[in-house]
């Protein structure tokens, strides 16, 4: 492959791009060609950024979504930014120039890079100030589907994200005839700082699917008794997603549902779809009616193939899917918002301009007692009227700093990694669950963990404040400390009613349901409400960000640092 990228943006081309847009050109001219409205398929021959020296320019750009001009913070002038197509074993230098009047940064999500190259201002490096250029340099130790995005402010919510594909150094065990990168995202006309402020100002402000008296009279949703019980506990079962389709447009490769991004195939081809959920706050349910989806990789790591009809993808997760559309027809790719408040939509077709039926949104799910960590199905006794007392017992998690930021403490959290995610329990077809995932390759570390650590995911939905073990990061919690090379079993317990996709930088979590040696490795794990997830991790030296990948939860305080030091150096 070529050593130089065939798209080498310098300041002049960037400025020309802005000028063209200002002159009224459509977004199509500014999209990278792999994401143009009719994509021919992302192959190495296509214009992407490749090679050992890459230049990226972060700036303000007006982009068009469904014909409406909107503000974006972009990488090289497009949303998403350019696909980086790299090769395992390569050493890459990436110069990032910031043309904003505020700091920016790029984090290489899922890449095992040296800690000082990880891109989190205040943890890994000082950030990139306006007008400055920072040169990242690191070797590529892995292959697969990843992505990169800002770790500054709320820039990620307005377009500062892009995909990465790293080809394996040797033959790819996943063979396909063509592939498409599918970047899912959400976009709001409302400035992200205003979105956050609204969430703080009024609980459930964007939820327009609440239970109503009209619904009660129509026999919908909860029974009167259930409504009363939930109201007594000040819990809203319709609070599935903080930010909804009421203020969001859901994007596939930068395109709204009506833009209808289209990926081409020839009937009979084996097509690899590389899904990345780059959304700030939305979890998606993904399906392609008429096609089976064979999951071959999760978070960039190959897994033993699993055939499903649908999968839920949390923020920052990636899944590689193989499909084999045999018929000469179009298929709709549906990325339905988890709260069913909207969908991202694209088309896979043999020829441009074709469409297929778009299925209607399914009914929005309701949270259940299980989502409060109170699954009573296995407990004939105990379901009673003292529940509110038990719902916040500090004895169940002594490490939690109690206070107004801790709304509840799950009294009976259960491992929900065998569940498909909120609202998909009765989808009527096979939905991927974490326990389906088994690593294809052998794990690099198969030791048993030397100790265990439980971390509670805490928050208060009414105050829209979020944290770990009761701490917002701004309150200066003690960092989680580890010895370099030690293997630790971490259990995350979700003490909130929202799903949290938790991401650890610089590491892979290894989920425990699979045979030793083939634990699936993930950089981001969805922890369902009232649920818990355990995984083993081998600590890598350095300081690493650990946070919820829902941007507004992170911005509300759900962020921490894992500090890992050599065992002999004072960390005993």
């Amino acid at each position: 492959m070529g050593r130089r990228g065939n798209f080498n943006p310098d300041r002049r081309t960037f400025l020309e791009g802005v000028a063209i847009l200002g002159g009224g050109a459509t977004l199509g001219t500014l999209l990278p060609s792999w994401a143009a409205t009719v994509a021919q398929g992302a192959t190495p021959a296509m214009p992407t950024l490749a090679g050992d020296d890459i230049k990226l320019l972060v700036g303000h750009t007006r982009v068009s979504i469904e014909g409406k001009a909107t503000h974006a913070v972009t990488i090289n002038g497009t949303v998403p930014g350019p696909l980086l197509r790299l090769k395992e074993g390569q050493r890459v230098r990436i110069a990032v120039t910031n043309t904003l009047d505020e700091d920016t940064s790029i984090h290489w999500h899922g890449l095992l890079v040296p800690p000082e190259m990880d891109g989190v201002p205040g943890v890994s490096f000082p950030g990139i100030r306006g007008g400055e250029t920072f040169v990242y340099e690191f070797p590529l130790l892995q292959s697969g589907t990843y992505w990169y995005h800002s770790h500054s402010g709320l820039q990620e919510a307005v377009g500062h994200y892009a995909p990465i594909v790293i080809e394996p150094a040797h033959r790819d065990p996943v063979q396909s005839d063509r592939e498409h990168v599918i970047v899912l995202a959400d976009h709001s006309e409302m400035h992200p700082h205003v979105v956050f402020k609204r969430l703080k100002q009024q609980g459930g402000v964007f939820n327009h699917q609440r239970q109503t008296i009209a619904g009660l009279l129509a026999g919908e949703d909860q029974s009167p008794a259930e409504r009363a019980e939930w109201a007594r506990m000040l819990m809203d079962p319709t609070d599935i997603s903080d930010v909804t389709g009421a203020v969001m447009t859901f994007l596939v490769n930068g395109h709204g549902p009506n833009d209808n991004w289209t990926g081409l195939f020839r009937p009979g081809e084996r097509v690899r779809l590389r899904f990345i959920n780059a959304a700030a706050q939305m979890i998606f349910n993904v399906r392609i009616p008429g096609l089976k989806l064979t999951v071959v990789a999760a978070d960039g790591q190959n897994v033993r193939p699993v055939e499903v009809d649908e999968f839920q993808i949390g923020n920052a997760e990636t899944y590689d899917i193989l499909i084999r559309p045999a018929e000469d027809r179009a298929y709709t790719l549906v990325a339905e918002a988890v709260d069913r408040s909207g969908m991202g939509r694209a088309t896979l077709a043999p020829r441009p301009g074709m469409t297929a039926e778009v299925p209607p949104l399914r009914k929005r799910p309701l949270a259940t007692m299980k989502d409060m960590g109170m699954d009573m199905s296995g407990h004939a006794h105990g379901a009673g009227h003292d529940m509110s007392m038990d719902m916040r017992d500090p004895a169940n998690a002594p490490q939690i700093k109690m206070g107004p930021a801790v709304q509840m403490i799950s009294p009976m959290p259960m491992d929900r990694s065998g569940e498909p995610g909120l609202g998909l329990e009765d989808a009527g077809h096979r939905v991927l669950v974490y326990t389906d995932l088994v690593a294809l390759e052998r794990n690099p570390d198969t030791r048993a963990p030397s100790r265990a650590l439980e971390i509670r995911l805490t928050g208060n939905m009414e105050r829209f404040t979020w944290g770990f073990d009761g701490w917002k990061y701004s309150e200066g919690p003690p960092p989680y400390a580890f010895r370099s090379g030690e293997r630790v079993r971490i259990t995350l317990v979700n003490d909130t009613m929202m799903t949290h996709p938790i991401h650890l930088h610089g590491h892979f979590f290894e989920l425990l349901h699979a045979p030793v040696g083939h634990l699936p490795r993930k950089h981001t794990v969805n922890v369902l409400p009232g649920g818990k997830v355990s995984y083993d991790v081998t600590a890598e030296e350095g300081d690493w960000a650990f946070h919820c990948h829902m941007l507004y939860h992170m911005h509300g305080g759900m962020f921490q640092v894992f500090k890992v030091r050599a065992a002999e150096g004072g960390a005993t």
Partner: protein
């Protein structure tokens, strides 16, 4: 079947690629051990009880980038992860009122600024008759502290502009009670040594996603007779409002409604003695808005 074919493709796997040897990489991968306990799951592996390491306070990258730029970035990091103050300005009541005794207007506004725990709160409420100046105008400046999941305690000063200039020390509690009742209880001690109390409660009845009926009650009480203000000790007045609003947006909701007010006890006696009504019903229309 397809899956079988696919699995067959996987059999020709190359050996695990040897990753680039790079001293800069920083990723120390322990060498893989030969397969031993492949039968069990990861969950079945025993977990040791090694003690956690001592707390770590130093930064791993300060020596590379320098402490000064890192300190600046750490300040931004903390602010962007839970430390950003927020504000809200809300007109809960901003209305025209039509009663037998004539028309008038009324407001009840609140603004706050601060973090999750500590906030500065400004409140004002009052009313007027016709298009004249206000007959009642009250302001409060308070420090607010979150003390519970749903409860804030506030303390500060109240100053009345009308009917006469008067200052009070104020303590109040705002809370969200089970079944989604918003309540506020306040105590006031005036610069003349008189003590008063106020209780407010409201609830949103959601007919549809946007059509919402808000019943609201307010009780005023006094610890002593204050004849010059025509207030008697005990409960002095009660109010019930029913406001039906339409959320054009959550932050912009016009409403119509009715409001009933009763003077109670000795206060009612004072009113009757002065030839005034001791109860009033009014039709209201107004705006509930916030930003």
């Amino acid at each position: 079947m397809k899956r079988m074919i696919f699995l067959a493709l996987l059999t020709g796997l190359p050996p695990m690629p040897v990753v680039a040897q790079d001293p800069h990489a920083g990723h120390v991968m322990p060498p893989p051990k030969p397969p031993a306990e492949e039968t069990g799951t990861g969950a079945a592996q025993p977990v040791g009880n090694a003690p956690p390491p001592a707390s770590i306070v130093d930064s791993a990258v300060d020596q590379i980038y320098g402490t000064t730029p890192m300190d600046r970035a750490r300040g931004i990091l903390a602010e962007e992860h839970g430390g950003r103050p927020v504000s809200k300005v809300m007109a809960n009541i901003l209305e025209y009122a039509d009663a037998d005794g004539g028309s008038g207007y009324r407001w009840d506004l609140e603004a706050w600024y601060g973090g999750d725990i500590h906030r500065f709160v400004f409140k004002t409420e009052g009313e007027g008759v016709g298009s004249d100046g206000a007959t009642i105008a009250e302001t409060q400046a308070l420090y607010s502290r979150a003390v519970g999941r749903y409860t804030d305690v506030q303390a500060g000063l109240r100053y009345d502009l009308e009917p006469e200039g008067r200052a009070y020390a104020t303590v109040s509690v705002e809370s969200l009670l089970p079944y989604w009742f918003e309540v506020e209880a306040a105590a006031f001690l005036s610069d003349r040594g008189d003590a008063f109390g106020r209780l407010e409660a409201s609830h949103d009845l959601r007919f549809t996603q946007r059509l919402i009926l808000q019943p609201r009650v307010e009780l005023e009480l006094a610890a002593q007779d204050v004849p010059e203000s025509s207030i008697g000790s005990g409960f002095s007045s009660a109010e019930l409002g029913l406001r039906l609003r339409y959320d054009v947006r959550r932050e912009f909701a016009p409403y119509v409604g009715v409001n009933f007010e009763w003077l109670l006890g000795q206060t009612a006696e004072f009113a009757r003695a002065a030839g005034a009504d001791d109860e009033e019903a009014s039709f209201v229309m107004g705006l509930r808005a916030w930003f």
